[in-house]
């Protein structure tokens, strides 16, 4: 079976390591970036493209919303499901904004365990 690839974009090192470890344990090939711009660069170079992207909302240089917009405007990446992760208290408005921009899901990090994130990811990519 082909290995699934995920792109993780998270600027907090502890959380980045944590999610990376979890996805690796679940058999994923994990690409990482710590801001939106780096995420776009890695995405551009990646071959094959990742099957799914997990992006934090609050990121330096280019935030999660901007990254999402860029991906959706690009023919090569527009069909890759993107889950936005946040720890901001923005609530419903940010959730709606994310969905309107085409996010596959919008998750609050402090409310969800890595295992639950894996569940959501597998559901989206049919794993």
């Amino acid at each position: 079976m082909e290995q699934k690839t995920i792109l993780l974009i998270e600027d907090d090192q502890i959380l980045l390591r944590m999610y990376t470890k979890k996805f690796e344990n679940e058999g994923f090939n994990v690409l990482v970036a710590t801001d939106g711009e780096e995420g776009l660069k890695i995405l551009e170079e990646a071959s094959p493209k990742p099957s799914i992207i997990l992006a934090d909302v609050m990121l330096p240089r280019m935030n999660g919303f901007e990254f999402l917009q860029e991906c959706k405007q690009n023919e090569a990446t527009k069909n890759i499901p993107i889950i936005l992760l946040t720890n901001l208290g923005g609530g419903e408005q940010d959730r709606e904004k994310g969905k309107a921009l085409g996010a596959a899901d919008y998750l609050v990090k402090s409310e969800i365990t890595p295992r639950e994130i894996i569940g959501k990811v597998n559901k989206l990519i049919g794993g």
Partner: protein, 258 residues
């Protein structure tokens, strides 16, 4: 001289604006900065429990599970504190719409059924007609949830529950009634009740009126304070309708009729 005074006033006004903005910024940064490490703790503990780091001996598993629960409590506490700060700053966004109150209340009762069953307390939604109110559906559910959770918390498990023996266990009812321009939701329980001297302080932040009575059921003293602030912010009212020590309490939420 006079001109100097005017300048000073203007400066004070600017300073006040600056302070206000700083406070907002502080709130937003703090909420993010607190949530992030707590997310790390939650995530890693859950991964240990899931076996990501290898098999965990039962005894250690229990300790980790306790740490996980404690951290989750911390997360909820921070969430509540952030919400209180946002309401105090008028920053909290309410989405007022036409809300089917009966449906929301019924949903809360369904969601709480497992906890009530665990405690051997009967929790019932008294069926009623459809009532429509002007409120924020999420916040309305949150208030009713606080009341029902409190009712479960402070309604003790019957001491001797023997099969075939009908014991008069604790009961909780959620019902609605109409009064002028209001639809009132009552949450009534046959719990421990609240001492008269504790009743006045019940809705104050960090008040723990019931602590002296139960000991094991520690509250944070935030729930009712927050629930009342949420009710008032959407033009509603929340109060203790009646309570008698050892007999139970009724809390009432009034929301404007649609």
């Amino acid at each position: 001289m006079e001109e100097d005074k005017v300048k000073t006033l203007e400066e004070i006004r600017q300073l006040k604006h600056l302070l206000e903005a700083e406070k907002q910024e502080f709130l937003s940064v703090m909420s993010h900065e607190l949530r992030t490490p707590m997310t790390g703790v939650k995530g890693y503990l859950s991964m240990i429990l899931d076996g990501d780091a290898g098999e965990v001996p039962e005894g250690i598993k229990d300790y980790v599970a306790q740490a996980y629960v404690a951290n989750d409590r911390l997360i909820r506490l921070v969430e509540k504190m952030i919400k209180i700060a946002e309401i105090q700053e008028d920053k909290f966004k309410f989405k007022i719409s036409k809300v089917n109150l009966a449906r929301e209340a019924n949903q809360v009762v369904k969601d709480c059924q497992v906890r009530a069953n665990d405690k051997k307390v009967s929790l019932r939604y008294v069926p009623s007609q459809e009532y429509f109110v002007k409120s924020d559906p999420d916040r309305t559910r949150e208030i009713i949830l606080t009341l029902v959770n409190n009712a479960i918390k402070f309604t003790p498990t019957p001491k001797h529950l023997v099969r075939g023996f009908t014991h008069e266990g604790g009961k909780i009812w959620v019902s609605h009634r109409e009064a002028n321009h209001w639809i009132i939701t009552d949450v009534r329980d046959t719990g421990i009740g609240i001492r008269r001297e504790d009743q006045e302080r019940l809705f104050e932040l960090f008040s723990k009126g019931n602590l002296t009575l139960t000991g094991q059921e520690r509250g944070t003293g935030i729930g009712l304070y927050l629930a009342r602030r949420l009710a008032e912010a959407q033009n509603g009212r929340l109060w203790l309708d009646q309570s008698e020590l050892g007999k139970g309490s009724t809390f009432s939420l009034a929301l404007p009729k649609y």
